[in-house]
Symmetry: C2
Subunit: 553 residues, 2 copies
């Protein structure tokens, strides 16, 4: 069997100019990066046809078995095009950290991939790198201000911004910097986050244009004074420089699927530590160009799905017309307690035990008033009885299951799902957000915990409670909440699979992100800087003298 990278390398790639033409972009809107990638600088006045239908693909809580959410999103988009519906994909950019660590690539799989998969998984057009250096330049300017006499009276113990790096590097989680005497900075404790968790990443993906981007950068709180007053970037007078560093990164990137569906890949916040959706710019561009836009939100519906609907949708000004929830029978059996080595045999009790995870996500997504479609991403090991069990369970929740075979067949393996989803988008929606803008933070959190996670309630640490008290005085207590939580469980404990009940979500700390416009609630033991595994994926990646890459999964 061919590997993903072999399939991608053997796929017929159209010139990006042809893909852009297919999508309807004017030639002057297309900035080529090689023959197979481009940035898009849309002239909105040329495209006045209104917005198409929006389809959000999300999934159950991930397991080591793999669910294939991106693969299904790609296959579904190809299938919509194959069945005569003008469709674009709008996805996130993969982060290099996980590519070199555990996860491998993130551009779909098999015959449902986005290409060139190597470049997409490596540097693409450099957006992550621009964000990394923009964030690091900003923090260096903050430290330099303290070093040069500290005119803003910043307290080095109360700085909020961290430097970032797009590497899974646990060694940099906690560092003491500024050592070496008077000429080498001011000693202080800090650490590095992975780039996907940076406030600039959140801001870039939420900005509507350069002016909005610069406004948001000016609003970033870099830290507090000795007398506990917040200090913003605007006081440093460097938002122009930081915006300048992001002038290209703000433009969406155009690539294609193996089935030649025009695909915008843009922005890459993780859903377990950030908002987990691609950019407003990319989604809106796709909506303007195509009749159907397929997009995805990171990890399970509890993380990316909730954030898409409660945080991104209001800024986008358009709610999804249908939500697709992806599951695999293998993953559901893992939720039911099987080990990864035990997934090849039929096991109806395990499957039954795991179905509650799917059920929770179906119910939580249904409450938003948007039609929900469930799909099973098929594997050869799935048995008829297993498929039937899932169909019966889901049917009892009033939702239909439409299996797909997208890894092996591309869009041809999802035409039935395409019909089903297209039909769903014709139904009226009655979108209502989970919480009200003026709900208190604890009210917002409890609505998320109870309705989306199926838990009992939220509990704040002393530190988190003190933070909320101080935010009330600053007027930050009504901001939307981004929950940072393990992706493996509906709870904040990665070991609680399937559908745990009566659990508490523990908020240990808040991180105010005023530029992005939300509060991040760090729960459980979630970290904003991952580490590398014992055998990193980097040890498998090879390249020959002609630049041909192998071992990138």
């Amino acid at each position: 069997m061919k590997s993903d990278i072999e399939i991608a390398q053997n796929a017929e790639k159209w010139p990006i100019s042809k893909i852009a033409e297919t999508a309807g972009f004017e030639p002057e809107e297309v900035i080529p990066y090689g023959s197979d990638k481009a940035k898009i600088e849309l002239d909105a006045e040329k495209h006045q046809g209104g917005l198409g239908k929006l389809i959000l693909v999300t999934s159950i809580n991930p397991t080591p078995a793999g669910e294939g959410k991106s693969t299904v999103a790609v296959g579904l988009a190809d299938a919509l095009n194959l069945t005569g519906r003008k469709t674009m994909l709008a996805l996130r950019e993969p982060s290099l950290g996980p590519v070199m660590g555990m996860k491998g690539g993130a551009a779909g799989g098999g015959y449902s991939q986005v290409i060139p998969m190597e470049d997409i998984n490596l540097h693409l057009t450099g957006d992550f790198h621009a964000l990394t250096i923009a964030q690091n330049t900003l923090v260096a300017l903050v430290d330099n201000s303290i070093y040069q006499g500290n005119p803003l009276n910043l307290d080095p113990r109360q700085l909020l911004l961290k430097r970032t790096i797009d590497v899974n590097d646990r060694e940099l989680r906690n560092v003491v910097m500024g050592l070496g005497g008077r000429t080498s900075g001011v000693p202080r404790e800090s650490g590095f986050d992975i780039t996907a968790a940076s406030e600039l990443m959140a801001i870039l993906t939420l900005s509507t244009d350069l002016v909005d981007l610069q406004k948001r950068i000016n609003r970033i709180v870099v830290g507090y004074t000795y007398d506990k007053q917040p200090v913003t970037v605007s006081e440093l007078n460097v938002a122009g420089a930081i915006t300048t560093l992001l002038k290209d990164a703000i433009k969406p990137n155009l690539v294609q699927t193996i089935g030649h569906t025009p695909t915008l890949i843009h922005g890459g916040p993780f859903a377990n530590i950030a908002q987990g959706t691609n950019s407003i710019q990319a989604t809106k561009t796709a909506l303007m160009m195509a009749d159907y836009t397929v997009t995805e939100a990171g990890f399970g519906a509890d993380l990316g799905g909730e954030k898409f609907l409660d945080v991104k949708t209001p800024l986008l000004g358009k709610n999804p017309d249908a939500i697709v929830i992806v599951a695999t029978i293998r993953a559901l059996k893992m939720h039911g307690g099987l080990a990864k080595t035990e997934l090849n045999q039929e096991d109806l009790p395990a499957l039954k035990a795991g179905l509650g995870n799917l059920g929770q996500h179906i119910n939580s997504m249904k409450r938003y008033g948007i039609p929900v479609v469930v799909t099973i991403n098929k594997f050869a090991s799935d048995t008829e009885k297993e498929v039937q069990l899932v169909e019966d369970y889901v049917s009892d929740l009033g939702v239909k299951v439409t299996p797909v075979d997208v890894w092996g067949k591309g869009g041809h393996g999802a035409t039935e799902l395409a019909d089903e989803v297209a039909k769903a988008t014709k139904q009226p929606t009655d979108f209502h957000k989970l919480y009200q803008a003026d709900d208190d933070a604890v009210v917002k959190l409890n609505k998320i915990v109870q309705t989306i996670y199926g838990g009992k309630q939220v509990e704040l640490s002393d530190k988190a409670q003190k933070q909320l008290d101080s935010y009330a005085k600053l007027g930050w207590d009504k901001l939307p909440i981004i929950v940072a939580k393990t992706q493996y469980s509906l709870s904040d404990d990665p070991k609680q699979v399937a559908a745990p009940a009566d659990f508490i979500i523990h908020v240990r700390e808040f991180v105010p992100k005023l530029g992005a416009g939300f509060l991040v609630a760090l729960t459980g033991k979630i970290l904003t800087m991952p580490g590398l595994p014992k055998v990193p994926a980097a040890t498998k990646i090879k390249i020959d003298g002609n630049g041909k890459i192998s071992g990138l999964f």
Copy 2:
């Protein structure tokens, strides 16, 4: 008077495809990055005409007055083209750290600039970013190996590689990392270098192709075992992944001057802390395509010039056919003791006192057996008597001075210099390196100190001496030397301007760079991570809603 960025933005830019055609590249060799930048993937078999003439532009020791070495290199290349000689430029890429700090842009000035100057000074095609993440991924993999059980027996106190960042960030010079307990790394002391100082930057610019690049990466010494044995990247099995991250960065970047001279900008090691020349790939490509290639080497001839001739030339397999030394009367007067505010009035005694700096560089370059041409980059404040004084002084050394006015007139201000340089390249050369390959490190250093710097001798710290003793056992003691030294003086003390005599160069420490193939000798107080000034250039950079940038100098 218009600023550099205003002149650059108003210049007529040819499509990069037209520039590539002018240079003689085949369309399939050109990978566009937008309409005004491209990467070149040369098919060497298509270009068999032999190598053209190579012209190395270098200068006196820089002063705050500015010398305009890059500006003269650009103007000279334009002038060679204007006078009917097929010419290409091969320059280094600017580093973002200094652009946001003190220096501002680095793409020439006035009407002798490389464009698009904004992109060249910002991300260009992402080479620096690829190097940054490649180096950081490599070091994270080293730390992860120690964390995961340390199978290579690496001593955390004896690691050589540092993480890098393309920001002037003194706060990261000295850090303690790996704090936070068992799951967050292994505590150790380290620090960050600026990307331009990284071993991967040195390697990238010296590599002839992907295979050579990977070989060199495998040879990098990451540190020592507890029993003091060196450990190389090959033992980590990650050279494939690191090479993969550099697969595009190894390709030279094509841009143009305001005068439409095809320009390859590639690689950016600083000359005060690294080898200070652009890439072998770019220089060789230009030599294959053009009759004349103009290139530059960083800072004064003592740093970039010496390294170009002793380290790069042997790998390039071709020595320069002429060396141009750039000086300004204002800078020479600063070497003669004037303050920056005193440069507008004629001051022959100060000029005379500063001329020794130019004299030392002329003599040191002449000894390589290559014709030397001196040029004065003219300013309105220069008087006839001052120019005459320089001409008389230089003439006594057997060299001719040809003034240029390239800031205001572009190539039209350097046609006489172009004729002079072209004539010089017709003279026979008798190139001989400064030192022999099998000279001991101290012999090599003394030859550099005495012949190039005009000093008395080198002195090693105890640490440096011990390092050399251990290198002798490892067989590293005959490697070429890269001296890291202040650019402001021929000595290792930035305050000793003009031509100090009888000085000692103090080597405090060596850094072995086995992948690059040399030993770096850190002298005086030179640092491999700069800091930001009190008023960083970043505070002046602005961008409007249409993406138009101002304040980038």
